[in-house]
Every structure is written in structure tokens, then in C-alpha cells.
């Protein structure tokens, strides 16, 4: 990935796309770095595909600009843009075999590349997507996973400046999806092409991307590396979307450099780090990740911790961890993730049992309620 200072490979500048009254994308501002793996993540209908299609050239922005490699491309038709797309349902040409599908892009070039050259490039592309020898197959003779590889080969053979992927894994089963994610990621590293992926699968985005752009109702809510988004979400929406979290609503009672206190139900106070701009008296939510909370059979009065009595409601065994759903009289139900060795020392907790939930003060994030 290039350093921040190099010119971006693509940019949205105050880009808005309206479909009649519907603002599919509103005021997008985003610089895409050369060689990075960027994901658009968000729920259905939030405008991910629209953003991607504006880069591909299938939609023109209603206002604002789209730039590719420093050039304003608002009115450049798709067939003249140096980007290629892998479609959600692959959109392979059913009347052409695998080879002719893959070579399609090269065969559109003028002057036409030599047949031997094309054949060799196809050979190599098939190698890259690990489908050697499948060249003369018909499309409908290929499995879903194989079709997706063909779609990928058809796009990368053109050596685009940006590869756009619209939920390419949505039609694959879980196991295959996992394999393809790993393959896509290593492919991106080895080709050095900028990848832009659209997905509503947070795990997919977290595991594959250098940066994630979280969208909501046509707007970009936050951009950052997976770790940044996980550790420092700027809103309850992001914290909820990236990983699991417990939220406790309350009112900001004190803001200090050492920590912000949030008064929540039952006279309890949760101390945490606040997002900038929070003032006392404002309503906000404290976000505590399940792994930031521990469970104990006995209470503790250790300094700098909060300990509340709970009742175990449910237990889900996850291998290395056990996830407990516990109930507090005032805070309600929340999740606690207990690692295996902690359970070994503390013993396990049975549903129905009383226990104590403990967290260190300051670990919570105090986030503004979503506008």
C-alpha cells in the first residue's frame, strides 16, 4: 500500500447520487490509496453498490465528482475506464466458453492483440485463479465457485488500475467463501492492484481489508483500518457493526482527561473514553465489548474496577471462548466472553446461577447516540 502522501488512485469529492427522491449516496468524500484493499461495509440499501457503480461508470453522480488516477471521470463511459468489475452474480457470457469469456476484455482492445498473445494471457489468468485446463468448458458446466474464478480471471487479465468487487462471495457457501477470501487477499497482494470490495459481511470486511469504509443511509460514517474501527468506533452504529458489543444508554455526568463518566440505570456509573465533543448532560451509550468483561463467582472491591451482580441466562461454547448471556436487574441482558483458561481457574458458570460481572474502569467507550 502506498503512503498517505502519494496521489490517490481514486477519489470521491462531495459525490451525491439521487434516484428521484432517494439519496442512494450522499456527499461521499473518500480518497482511495493505490494498492490498498478497501471495503465498503454497511447494511442492505445503504448505497455501497451505488458508490461502486459510480467508479465503474454505470451511474453518473448527480453532483460532486468522481476521480480516477487524478482525472475527473464523471462523464467517461464505463468502457473507457481503466477499472474492471466482478459482478455479484458473475455476469459471465453464457454463449461463450471459459476462454472466450476471459479473453473478452483483451479482444476489445484496438489494435487487437495477437491471438498467441491473448491465448497466453488466458492461460496465465487461468493459472492465477487455479483453473488450468478448464478453458474449453461451457459456463453452465462450472460450479458456482469455479464461475466466480472465471469472473475474477476475466477482470484481472485486463490489469485494471482498480478491481471492483460487488459482494463476490454472497452466492458461495460458508466454507468456500472462507477459502475465496484468503485467495482474494493473497491475489491482491501479489498483483498489487487496488481492490474495492462491497460487502455486508463484517467478518469478511474485517479479515480482508486494509481499510473499511462504513456506510449508513447513503453516507460514509467512518473510515479506518479494521483495528481502528474496532478499537475506536466513532458512533454506536459503527461499534455495533464492527464486532459484537454491549450498549448501555445513559447521560454523560462528568468529562475529564482521566475518563468520562456515564450515569446509567440503577445509579450505576460507567467510566470510559469519550468520543470528542461529548458534554455533560448529553445522552450517550457506553460500549463494552464482551471480551472486556469477566465473570467471577465472588465479588471484588479492587480499585479501578466495577463489579455488578448478575444471573447467568445462557451459555454458548465457542471453543477457545465461552459466551455467556447474563442478566442484571438494572442494566438488562448483556454478553460476556470468557476465555478458556479463565474458566479453568474460576470454574464454569451454569445457567440460572448468580455471578458477578467485572470490568476495568476506563475500558468502555462513551459514544454519542446516533443522529
Amino acid at each position: 500500500m502506498q503512503p498517505d502522501t502519494d496521489p490517490p488512485i481514486a477519489e470521491f469529492r462531495a459525490t451525491t447520487k439521487m434516484f428521484g427522491e432517494v439519496g442512494a449516496a450522499r456527499d461521499l468524500n473518500l480518497s482511495i490509496r493505490k494498492g490498498e484493499f478497501l471495503s465498503f461495509l454497511g447494511p442492505s440499501g445503504c448505497g455501497k453498490t451505488t458508490a461502486l457503480r459510480m467508479l465503474a461508470g454505470f451511474e453518473a453522480p448527480t453532483s460532486g465528482d468522481v476521480l480516477i488516477d487524478g482525472e475527473r471521470v464523471n462523464d467517461l463511459p464505463a468502457h473507457r475506464r481503466p477499472v474492471n468489475m466482478v459482478f455479484q452474480h458473475y455476469a459471465l457470457f453464457p454463449h461463450l466458453d471459459v476462454t472466450d469469456n476471459i479473453s473478452y476484455g483483451l479482444r476489445q482492445r484496438r489494435p487487437r492483440p495477437a491471438a498467441a498473445e491473448v491465448a497466453q494471457a488466458v492461460e496465465q489468468a487461468l493459472e492465477t485463479v487455479r483453473l488450468p485446463g478448464y478453458g474449453r468448458r461451457r459456463i453452465w458446466e462450472m460450479s458456482g465457485g469455479q464461475q466466480q474464478r472465471v469472473a475474477l480471471a476475466r477482470a484481472i487479465i485486463n490489469q485494471p488500475k482498480i478491481l471492483l468487487l460487488d459482494e463476490p462471495m454472497a452466492a458461495l457457501d460458508r466454507k468456500l467463501r472462507r477459502d475465496m477470501q484468503i485467495e482474494l487477499q493473497s491475489l491482491q497482494r501479489s498483483l498489487g492492484i487496488t481492490f474495492i470490495l462491497v460487502t455486508h459481511d463484517q467478518e469478511e470486511a474485517l479479515s480482508m481489508s486494509d481499510r473499511i469504509c462504513i456506510m449508513r443511509a447513503g453516507r460514509i460514517v467512518q473510515i479506518g483500518s479494521p483495528r481502528e474501527l474496532y478499537d475506536r468506533p466513532n458512533s454506536r452504529y459503527v461499534a455495533d457493526f464492527v464486532g459484537k458489543s454491549n450498549f448501555f444508554a445513559g447521560t454523560v455526568s462528568r468529562v475529564e482527561a482521566t475518563g468520562t463518566a456515564l450515569a446509567v440505570a440503577g445509579g450505576l456509573r460507567i467510566i470510559g473514553t469519550a468520543a470528542p465533543g461529548l458534554a455533560p448532560g448529553q445522552t450517550a451509550s457506553a460500549s463494552l465489548r464482551p471480551e472486556q468483561i469477566s465473570l467471577a463467582h465472588g465479588t471484588t472491591t479492587a480499585d479501578g474496577t466495577t463489579c455488578v451482580p448478575v444471573r447467568v441466562v445462557n451459555r454458548i461454547f465457542l471453543g477457545e471462548h465461552t459466551e455467556y448471556l447474563v442478566q442484571h436487574d438494572d442494566l438488562g441482558a448483556f454478553l460476556v466472553l470468557v476465555p478458556r483458561q479463565a474458566e479453568a481457574s474460576e470454574g464454569s458458570f451454569e445457567p440460572g446461577e448468580p455471578a458477578f460481572a467485572i470490568w476495568r474502569d476506563g475500558t468502555a467507550l462513551i459514544l454519542p447516540e446516533d443522529a
Binding site: 465503474a56 461508470g57 454505470f58 463511459p77 464505463a78 468502457h79 473507457r80 477499472v83 474492471n84 468489475m85 459482478f87 452474480h89 458473475y90 455476469a91 459471465l92 457470457f93 453464457p94 454463449h95 473478452y104 476484455g105 476489445q108 482492445r109 459456463i139 453452465w140 464461475q147 476475466r154 477482470a155 485486463n158
Partner: protein, 272 residues
């Protein structure tokens, strides 16, 4: 219920079967079977009137279905961009064109053409700059092709439009994305996708024109198509020769229909 259905089928197909059977009759009377022979086919195909009628029918069918396929396809491609009330009207007209009885098309075309020729012919005479007599517009190939083409074009539009509607729009976007110009996309993606529809439309149009008697009867003028020939000879009695002609027409029509059906079915093969 089953028996009833069986009876209906027998009623429908026995006459056709009998025609085919008697066309191979060695005897000269249509009423009694006298051994197997293909001589009536030979006689029919050596009859200059039959050959002439066959030629007329083939030319009219080929011309009208070719024109209908070209213009019907163009119309079907353009229609998706027409919206609103105009679209509703066009759609209705297309379906009406297919449903109007042949006799109405025949009479209407006849009256329309006679009227137009009535206006144009004196004009032609008046404006003709050469010494010889001016040519006169009259019923014939032109009117046959026009009347058959009219019906066939609606048929082609309906069939091709169904293909276009069933086509995955993202294929066109994929082609665009891969650098094909709009014309390149049309040639390499759209056309191969709708081609089965065009071919099926062509074959159905051809069959329709080749078999048609009613419309042709009104607008053929001095021309004799095969169905018209058959009709006029029947007045002199049904001969095994007529049976042979009927069987040949049947074979050609059925063959084309089966091919058309096969193409349409194959075009529907699932792809993703």
C-alpha cells in the same frame, strides 16, 4: 374424460393422417387404397402450375419473414426505451395485429391497397417521363409480402421482446466494463442472446406465410400461392396429387415449427 380427449384428438388428426396416407396411394382414386407408391409426388413436382405456385409461396414466405425478422427485431430492441401511454398503445396494437382474424387482414389490406393504387396509378401515368406505357401498381408479390409481413412483424416483436426481457442486464454492463463499445456490445452480447428468438420468429413467420390461404386469397392478385392452387384444384376433385402437395406442405410446416420450438426451448436453458 380421457376417452373424450382421445376422441377430440382422433377427430383432429385422422383427416390429416388420411391425407398423408392417400398421398402414397398407387391408385388414381382418392377413395380406395391400391398399394404403396410415391408417384403422385413425382407428378405433383412435375406439374408446372404446382412448381410455379410453390415458387411464389417460397418467395413470398422468405421475403416477408426476412423483412419481418429484421424490422421486428429492431422494434423489439427500441421498445424498452418507450414509456408511458404511448407504450401501452403500441403494446396493444402489437397484440391486436396477432389476434385479428386473417379474413379481416385480407379484406382490409385489399381495400387499402386498391384505394391507394387507385390514387397513385393515374398520377404515375401523368408523371411518367418515358415513351412506353407507365407501369401500373397492382396486387401481386408486393401486396402478399406486405400483408404477410404485417402479421409476421408482430409475431417477431413478441418473441424477440420476450428474449430481451429474459436477458440478464448485467451481461451488457459486463461487456461495457470490459471495454466493448456500444456497437461491440450489441454485436457480441445482445445479438447472440436474442438470436434464438429471431430465428424462431423467422421460422414461425415463414410457416405462417407458407400456409396462409385466407389473406393470400384476397391480396394475391394474379399470383397463385400453393394454398390458393390447392384450393382451386380441389374444385375439380381431390386427387392423390393434391394429397401429396398437402403432405409436403404439412411436412415443411411441422418441421419448421419443431425447429422453432427447439430453438426457443434451448434458449431458455439456465445459465447461472
Amino acid at each position: 374424460m380421457r376417452l373424450y380427449a382421445l376422441a377430440v384428438y382422433l377427430f383432429l388428426y385422422i383427416p390429416i393422417g388420411i391425407i398423408a396416407l392417400f398421398s402414397f396411394n398407387a391408385g388414381r382414386y382418392a377413395a380406395q387404397l391400391q398399394g404403396f407408391s410415391t408417384k403422385w409426388y413425382g407428378i405433383a413436382l412435375n406439374n408446372p402450375f404446382v412448381v410455379d405456385a410453390l415458387h411464389t409461396s417460397a418467395v413470398v414466405a422468405a421475403t416477408s419473414s426476412t423483412l419481418a425478422t429484421i424490422f421486428g427485431t429492431l422494434a423489439a430492441l427500441a421498445l424498452p426505451s418507450v414509456r408511458g401511454p404511448l407504450r401501452t398503445i403500441i403494446d396493444a396494437l402489437i397484440y391486436i395485429a396477432v389476434m385479428v382474424p386473417g379474413i379481416v387482414i385480407g379484406i382490409a389490406t385489399l381495400i387499402a391497397l386498391v384505394t391507394v393504387f387507385g390514387w397513385l396509378n393515374p398520377l404515375l401515368v401523368a408523371l411518367w417521363p418515358f415513351a412506353e406505357a407507365a407501369p401500373q401498381l397492382s396486387m401481386g408479390y408486393g401486396s402478399l409480402v406486405a400483408a404477410h409481413g404485417l402479421f409476421a412483424i408482430a409475431l417477431v416483436i413478441i418473441i424477440v421482446r420476450a428474449r430481451i426481457a429474459g436477458m440478464d442486464r448485467s451481461l451488457i454492463e459486463a461487456s461495457d466494463d470490459l471495454g466493448a463499445t456500444p456497437w461491440g456490445t450489441f454485436r457480441q452480447v445482445t445479438l447472440p442472446q436474442i438470436f434464438p428468438g429471431m430465428l424462431a420468429g423467422f421460422l414461425l413467420s415463414f410457416t405462417f406465410s407458407f400456409d396462409d390461404f385466407i389473406i393470400a386469397f384476397f391480396v394475391a392478385g394474379s399470383k397463385t400461392t400453393l394454398p390458393i392452387y390447392v384450393f382451386s384444384s380441389i374444385r375439380r376433385g381431390v386427387t392423390p396429387e393434391i394429397n401429396a402437395i398437402g403432405t409436403m406442405v404439412l411436412a415443411v410446416s411441422l418441421g419448421l415449427l419443431v425447429i422453432a420450438q427447439f430453438i426457443l426451448q434451448r434458449g431458455r436453458r439456465p445459465t447461472t
